[in-house]
Structure formats: C-alpha cells, structure tokens
Subunit: 202 residues, 2 copies
C-alpha cells in the first residue's frame, strides 16, 4: 500500500480495486489505472458497462450449469450434438477450451470448482446434484470426467464416479500422459509415471 504514496484518492481507489483481481499485482494495477485515466471517456464508459453487463445479463444454464445469456444455453439447445455423452468440467473456461479444440460433439456439465477440504469446499458446494437428474434417461451412455489432473480434481472425479456407477453408465477419465510438443526431460515424475502406466501397444 506504500506503493500508492500521494496518488490522488480516486486513482488510489482504482489501483486498490484492480490490485484485488487475480494476477494483477500492484505495479500492473498502477499501470492500468494511469492507462485508463488517459483513455477517452467513451472508452472508459465502455469498460465500466461491460463489467456491469456481465453481472446483469449472465445466468447459470439450468441444464449444464454453464454461464449463459439464455436458458438453456446455446450448447444445451443444440440438437446436433451427441446426447449420449456428457463431459463434466470444473469451469466455463474448460468448456471453451474443449470447444476450441473442436473434436468433442457431446454435451457438458460445469461443476464450478472441485472438492477441496483445505478451502472448505465439499461436494455440496459444487453443481453435482444438478448432474444426476440429467442421467435419469436412457440416452446418456457415458460421462467423461474432464476435471483437471490435480489431487483435488482426482478426488472430485472419484466422488462423482461412485455416485454414477450404480446407474450403469460408463464413466471415463481424460487420458494422462506426456503433453504433445512437450519434452520428456522436462516432464515431472508423476506425469512420466502416468505415461508409463498408460502406455499403448503400437
């Protein structure tokens, strides 16, 4: 906070607000604040409106729980997708990443987090209960657990897998192994071990 010596108070306030955002340190916040001050008024208003706009207009899809403007969301409303598969992911950004890759044509379910006892987040805090009604029809043949390959992600996967198994639906995990384009010498021991365990006969 000593970094804000004698910045006029609206500037200091903006620096504080920006500094609270993830990944924006005090130096970036200062740089951004002085950049914003010099923008034309209509551009500044555009930024402020776009910030308020996401709160006003964005809701959770009642089906997949992704963020959306319309309910159900565009993806859930798309009849050309494969209704036999649901891919469960942690965050809306994960949906974007998979959509960008372009290979997946099933539906999604967004948990909005992972089980994390350290941070006091239990299964009840995630959108898991909203997943189960979606499986109560004969269409869904497979649930892909596409959560991040972390300890907490694995724990979350295991929890969901135990819930779904009794329903007789296939539950799969995304493969773990060496990332394409990566170098073996830089792979960590756990990844190498998983790549070894999951080796495929050619």
């Amino acid at each position: 906070m000593n970094d804000q010596v004698s910045a006029p108070s609206p500037v200091a306030r903006l620096i504080r607000e920006l500094n609270r955002l993830p990944g924006i340190g005090i130096k970036s916040a200062q740089r951004l604040a002085y950049y914003i001050i010099r923008l034309p008024s209509e551009e500044v208003e555009g930024i402020a409106e776009s910030i308020l706009g996401v709160k006003d207009k964005i809701i959770y899809c009642s089906v997949c729980q992704n963020l959306t403007e319309v309910d159900p969301c565009e993806l859930c409303n798309d009849p050309h997708r494969n209704n036999g598969i649901i891919c469960v992911v942690e965050e809306p950004l994960d949906v974007l990443a998979i959509e960008r890759a372009g290979f997946y044509k099933g539906y999604y379910h967004v948990l909005h987090g992972v089980v994390s006892p350290m941070n006091g987040i239990g299964p009840g805090d995630l959108r898991i209960k909203e997943l189960l009604p979606r499986l109560n029809n004969d269409a869904v043949k497979e649930v892909i657990l596409g959560v991040n390959p972390t300890l907490e992600g694995d724990a979350t996967s295991m929890y969901i897998q135990r819930l779904i198994s009794p329903l007789g639906i296939k539950v799969t995990n995304l493969a773990r192994g060496l990332p394409i384009g990566g170098q073996l010498e830089y792979a960590d021991a756990v990844t190498l071990n998983r790549a070894y365990q999951g080796r495929i006969e050619l």
Copy 2:
C-alpha cells in the same frame, strides 16, 4: 478471437474490453472476466464505479501537470518543499516512485511522455510549454531532468536543456550507472560504459 468460441456475448464483450488493456492477454482477460462474473454484485459495482470515478474526478494540476483531484495538487500546495528545485519526469508514476524513495523534497513537473518521432510525438505534444513560466522567478535554481535513460528520454532531456540554459538555471541529469544490488556481469555494455565514464574517485 477464436479464443472466445461460444462465450456468451456480454462475457465475450468484457473479455474483448479487458484484452485491450496493456499487459492483459487473451488468457488473462478470460480469467478476469469469469472472476468478475462470480464476484458479488456490490463488488462488481465498486470496480465499475472506481473506473468511472477516475475519469470524473481526476484533472491535470495547472502547475506541475501531474494528475490530481485538487488544483494545484497536494505536492504543489505543500509549502514545506524546496522551491529551488524542479524535477522533470515523464509520467505520474515516476513522481510516485521518487516520493516513495523519500529523499527528494523539491517540486515536480510531469511531461506526460517523451519526444518520439517514430510515434509522431513532438515537443509540442508534451507539457513542456507549461514548465517555462514556472522558471520565470528567481526561486528556481536547478531543474533535474529525471526522464527515463532511453534514447527518446535523452533526446527529450537535450531539447529541454537547450530551452532552459539561456535562463541561467542549472540543469542536471539523474546519474547513470550500475543499479544497486545488480550484478556487474549482467549489466549491458551501454550501462557499463556509462558507469565507467561516470566513475567517482574514492
């Protein structure tokens, strides 16, 4: 822009707006946007207000040209400072950096940029003409040129020095040399050369 596949449009708009800010790439913009969506409404309004607030409330000090809420600014209004020295800097952040260091007790003058023919910025685009009336009294004995040690900064310093010299006021430059805590082996050739040229007898 392909990175925004199927993000709902107010989210896509916010991502676009954030992505235009300096130092915020598409990935950071996405992360920030989804972070903002999940903040409580009052916090989001706080951010938007602080952005609008800097445009509404911040003006240029008519004396030193720094950004301020009151005119003249707090620094120019402080009678305890040494009115014999004016330190000329490029940006408001430079004033903060020098104030933070705590050793300087004179006044400031903020140019809001440097001469940069490549970017079409000439001396007339900087707040240089506002500096000259401040020197038309016997109080000011020294002008410190505290612009950045770059080619453009040096050109700007030289331009201002030529303007001021006829007034019989001492014009000084901040010393160039090895940064404290840095390592000689990592210093670039130009810095080493300047450190050598400016060596001091012990």
